[in-house]
């Protein structure tokens, strides 16, 4: 279980890294999204893995923390998701702007001389 999650996070992050190192803006934005998945998962599992123990204290009486997932890491992920969403949108629009203004979709907004 733990290993599987860890490997997943690793693979997502790795493919994200590969993409953000590529020269085309579209590749970079896909890479950023993959990285954000990986990072969100990472933050999330920092609160350890819980199955069917959502942090909803529906039961009457004082809740027992040991039977509920860590709500804080989830809250952090939530904030991270929102901010990630915003920045992704920004990057998208900027990449369109760069494409429109310079005619190129290279991350340096100009074709490398070597290619």
């Amino acid at each position: 279980m733990e290993a599987a999650i860890a490997i997943t996070i690793g693979i997502l992050f790795g493919s994200g890294v590969w993409l953000v190192l590529r020269p085309r803006t579209f590749q970079v934005i896909i890479g950023l999204l993959l990285m954000s998945y990986a990072v969100n998962l990472f933050i999330f599992v920092m609160g350890r893995l819980w199955i069917d123990q959502a942090p909803l204290t529906l039961a009457p009486g004082t809740p027992d923390p040991s039977v509920h997932a860590d709500p804080l890491s989830q809250a952090l992920v939530l904030t991270a998701i929102v901010i990630g969403f915003a920045t992704t949108a920004l990057y998208l629009v900027m990449m369109l702007g760069a494409r429109g203004l310079t005619g190129s979709d290279h991350v340096d907004a100009e074709e490398e001389d070597e290619q």
Binding site: G14, R22, N40, R48, L56, I81
Partner: protein, 968 residues
């Protein structure tokens, strides 16, 4: 109290002078002249105390914690230099009044000149080493400005830059040196430092301190090997040359050596460095002076050699040598200043300074000629003139150093004497012979008062030369005493000491000089030689410029290697740094589970596998098949959200899903504007090997980072969680947060502050995107209609999107979606309301709402939708932020901190009693901001397609703002 006034006066006057109008020549001169005169009187009034051997101090706390105080300290030496600075300053001001042409912007000139005067006074009056360094650099700066006064001339600019570079670097060395000195002594106060001579010379840091300080002095006094800047500084107006570059500023270096003589001198290092530099300088200077053609050039090199002479004397280090040094400083100041002014007069009245064409000026300007001849006689060391006295002392000292075995220094001294006689002869030769006819102007005597300063100075030369004991003795005594104190030597200033070796040397120098001059004229006439023989290869200007360009070129080269303007290498660096950090700090020696895949649900495993495959495939396809990559990415996103659900985070699952949807829509809208890209196979081109290399490098980094992150995750997961602050929230969520959904309570209550910032980010990004797209210009090739919309067989191409949705082939979908709209809005409300207790909340609700609207856009087109409902993103944004913020501030009313949550109990008709927690309104704000920014982004993107069908450009802004900038 007098001292600070003396110091401040020039600076104040400098400011006043700068503010005067450009044509106020006389006022400027009066101001500057009066300033000098008044201060001179002030200084003179100090003479009795000084003669009594008193040391005046004025202190002002500046940075007491660092031992840096503002201390003014005047003793004999300082007094002497103050007199030099102010006296010659006054004469120069008078002289400049006639020298500067009426068109010159004199305010700048005089304000710089006065500022320099103040700085120079500051140096000599400083009682604190750091403060001395401050004024030291100030003189460099002012001299830079004065040399560059005629800055439309390239030689002036270069002279200024050269002088400043050399002297400022020297200043830095001096700065470092005095700081080390202060470290040794434990104080920067001059008196303390001077008292601690023994301790300093014994200290291990003595040599570095000495070296740095001496470097400062040598650069300032144009000593070998830094002498090259002075001749180029002659591009300055002649008054400046005669003031800064002969009489005062260049003397700052020797002044420093005299000041610190009790501390630093007397060791082998001192003798070798100082005297060595001095000897080289006086030989090179005096030799080079012979072969100059420009009068000022000759005087500049002679200045260098005379400074070298003083330096040698200081290097010798005997008390008598100190006497000679100070004495020669005075004498040199007098005759060299007068000579420079004479040169200026000649230049001014004849229009040339070239000794090759100047002849017989004695006829035209007899008085000036006489003065110049006397002064240069003093320079050559002719008896009955002040130059003779100090030079004889110099000969005596050089003899003393060598004793009767080692004569090399005496030899050098004699050679220097001979050379100086020679160049003096060459200089005065311009007054004899038959007059030159074709000079730029017909030479004539200068105005009365322009000559006056020269007369006065020459008179001084004579008086000192004839009656030294009466004229200069006391002053010299004060100065020497202030340096040497107890070890005051006995000396008598007399013209005739009887027949002794120094006298013989002087006579030899005179005769030798005359002979050498005749020889030169015979054999190789200096007038006909372009360069100085032997040493002409070293051109200061070219050398300096070469060094400078070499510096910037090598800097460029280094940047080539260690800098980049491209994005990819930078990202690579950052990620590499991360990998390096994890790798070096190391993964913990994790205790392994027997079976790491224990209790792994196969379904879950499959899910993860799908996610991974999608991710890798997306990475694979992203370059050439964007749509496929997008789909695969969506797959990963969905998997992630399911993982959230599986691992008991329903809120995250919901949010992730909605964000996924909206992001995909965004990207889809964006795809249209990207350029087509064909695979190398299609283009049949070879991918160069360099690219392969880079790709493999990147791949390696990607794999490494993936592995390490996975490793860390695993290492963490193997550990029981620390007692986190998370439990606190579970315990209080209901009891004090008023909600059963701990996550949501965290977002709106415990950590509502984060959420506030988060929605601000949303708003800021929304605004940025709007601002960007307002100016969006599509690339030309993406303006053409996609072929799907130009297919002649398709009836839909003639229909507006709205018509397609009503009667066209989108009819079914159209009806369906419009029916769906209210339900989706209801959904949004539902998720919003339950948020506090069950998964949901303002953010999810906002996204659902936005999706509901955007579906309509996608279906019927922007025009139709906006005709039917006005979305006002900016209001949503603004109101949302204000609402959230106001909710927070509401707590103040109840006397609680920002964002403290409260609950109102309302009795509503037909709803009965309901609890309305303040968090509700906060969440409403979040909802509104999310709707606002999402709509803003999506609509702004959607509008591009409308716009691009018309010709791009002009109408764009108008329309965008018309449809979106609704408030007015």
């Amino acid at each position: 109290m007098l001292l600070p006034v003396l110091l401040l006066l020039p600076f104040v006057c400098s400011v006043i002078a700068a503010c005067m109008p450009a044509d106020a020549r006389n006022r400027e001169v009066w101001l500057a002249g009066t300033a000098c005169f008044v201060s001179l009187l002030g200084v003179a009034s100090l003479f009795p105390q000084i003669s009594a051997g008193e040391v005046m101090r004025y202190e002002l706390a500046w940075m007491p914690a660092y031992g840096l105080d503002f201390v003014l300290r005047v003793d004999g030496l300082a007094w002497l230099f103050m007199v030099l600075v102010l006296g010659i300053g006054m004469l120069v001001v008078l002289y400049a009044h006639y020298y500067m042409s009426p068109e010159d912007p004199v305010p700048r000139f005089f304000s710089f000149l006065l500022a320099f005067m103040g700085a120079m006074l500051g140096i000599v009056m400083s009682g604190n080493l750091i403060q001395l360094a401050v004024f030291w650099e100030l003189t460099s700066i002012t001299s830079f400005l004065l040399i560059g006064y005629w800055h439309h001339r390239a030689d002036a600019r270069r002279g200024a830059r050269m002088a400043f570079t050399v002297t400022a670097s020297g200043g830095l060395c001096l700065f470092a040196g005095v700081i080390i000195l202060g470290r040794i002594v434990g104080s920067y106060d001059l008196d303390v430092v001077i008292a601690a001579g023994e301790q300093v010379r014994a200290h291990t840091l003595y040599f570095p301190a000495l070296l740095l300080i001496v470097l400062g002095a040598l650069t300032k006094s144009a000593q070998f090997p830094f002498h090259f800047w002075l001749p180029h500084a002659m591009a300055a107006p002649t008054p400046v040359s005669s003031y800064l570059h002969s009489a005062t500023m260049v003397k700052a270096g020797v002044f420093l050596l005299m000041r610190l003589w009790p501390v630093l001198s007397g060791t082998e290092e001192w003798r070798w460095i100082v005297a060595g530099a001095g000897v080289c300088t006086l030989l090179i200077g005096s030799f080079a002076a012979i072969f100059q053609h420009d009068i000022k050039g000759l005087l500049a090199y002679s200045t260098i050699s005379h400074l070298g002479l003083i330096t040698v004397l200081l290097g010798i280090g005997t008390p008598l040598a100190m006497v000679a040094a100070i004495f020669h400083t005075i004498n040199h100041a007098t005759f060299k200043a007068s000579l420079f002014m004479a040169a200026g007069i000649i230049d001014h009245e004849s229009g040339s300074r070239d000794m090759r064409i100047l002849r017989g000026l004695g006829r035209h300007m007899p008085i000036t000629a006489t003065l110049a001849i006397v002064a240069s006689a003093a320079m050559a060391g002719v008896p009955l003139l002040n130059g003779f006295l100090s030079k004889e002392m110099f000969f005596a000292e050089t003899l003393l150093v060598g004793g009767d075995t080692d004569w090399w220094m005496s030899g050098a001294a004699l050679a220097m004497g001979i050379f100086s006689v020679t160049y003096s002869l060459r200089f005065i030769s311009i007054f004899f012979g038959k007059p030159q006819v074709d000079l730029p102007r017909v030479p004539h005597e200068p105005p009365r008062w322009m000559r006056f300063p020269v007369e006065l100075l020459v008179l001084l030369c004579l008086v000192v030369g004839v009656l030294p004991a009466l004229s200069i003795d006391q002053i010299l005594h004060n100065a020497v005493y202030s340096v040497l104190g107890e070890q005051m030597p006995s000396y008598d200033l007399a013209v005739w000491h009887g027949l002794n070796i120094p006298l013989v040397m002087s006579i030899a120098a005179l005769l030798g000089g005359v002979l050498f001059y005749r020889l030169l004229r015979r054999r190789f006439n200096p007038d006909l030689r372009e360069h100085v023989p032997l040493i002409h290869r070293f051109s200061g200007a070219q050398g300096y410029e070469n060094v400078m360009s070499a510096l910037s070129r090598s800097a460029d080269f280094v940047l080539e290697l260690f800098n980049t303007v491209r994005l990819q290498p930078q990202i690579f660096c950052i990620l590499l740094a991360m990998v390096a950090v994890i790798a070096t700090l190391g993964l913990p020696s994790s205790r392994h589970l027997a079976d790491p895949f224990a209790n792994l649900d196969p379904l879950f495993a499959l899910l993860l596998a799908i996610g991974c495959i999608c991710a890798v495939a997306a990475a694979w396809q992203a370059k050439y098949h964007r749509l496929a990559a997008l789909a695969l990415l969506g797959g990963t996103g969905v998997v992630v959200s399911v993982v959230f659900l599986w691992l008991s985070a329903p809120d995250l699952a919901l949010t992730q899903l909605m964000v996924e949807t909206v992001t995909t829509v965004l990207l889809l809208l964006g795809l249209r504007w990207l350029p087509p890209r064909k695979t190398p196979k299609e283009l049949a081109i070879e991918v160069p090997r360099r690219v392969w290399l880079r790709r493999s490098r990147d791949l390696a980094l990607a794999v490494m980072s993936g592995l390490l992150l996975a490793g860390i995750t695993y290492a963490i997961l193997l550990r029981p969680s620390a007692d986190t602050i998370g439990d606190f929230f579970l315990l209080r969520a209901l009891s004090e947060g008023g909600g059963t959904n701990a996550v949501n309570v965290l977002l709106v209550d415990f950590r509502g502050f984060d959420t506030l910032g988060e929605i601000t980010v949303l708003a800021a990004v929304g605004l940025t995107i709007y601002a960007l797209l307002r100016r969006f210009r599509p690339a030309p090739e993406s303006l053409v209609q996609p072929e799907q919309q130009t297919d002649p067989l398709d009836p839909a191409i003639h229909q507006a999107p709205s018509r397609q949705a009503r009667t066209g082939y989108l009819m079914v979908a159209g009806i369906y979606l419009r029916l769906l709209l209210p339900f989706m809005l209801l959904f949004a409300v539902y998720y919003f309301m339950r948020g506090h207790n069950l998964p949901g909340g303002g953010f999810v609700a906002g996204l659902i709402f936005a999706v509901a609207i955007i579906l309509q856009y996608m279906l019927a087109g922007a025009v139709w939708v906006e005709a039917h409902l006005r979305v006002r993103p900016f209001r949503w944004l603004g109101l949302g932020l204000i609402l959230a913020c106001a909710t927070g501030l509401g707590a103040w009313i109840f006397g609680y901190p920002f964002l403290t949550s409260h609950t109102a109990h309302l009795h509503l008709p037909l709803l009965g009693e309901v609890h309305v927690p303040s968090a509700f309104f906060f969440d409403l704000g979040v909802f509104s901001v999310v709707v606002g920014s999402t709509m803003l982004i999506l609509i702004a993107l959607a509008h591009q397609s409308i716009r691009s069908h018309r010709q791009p450009g002009k109408s764009a802004d108008v329309e965008a703002s018309a449809s979106m900038q609704e408030s007015s």
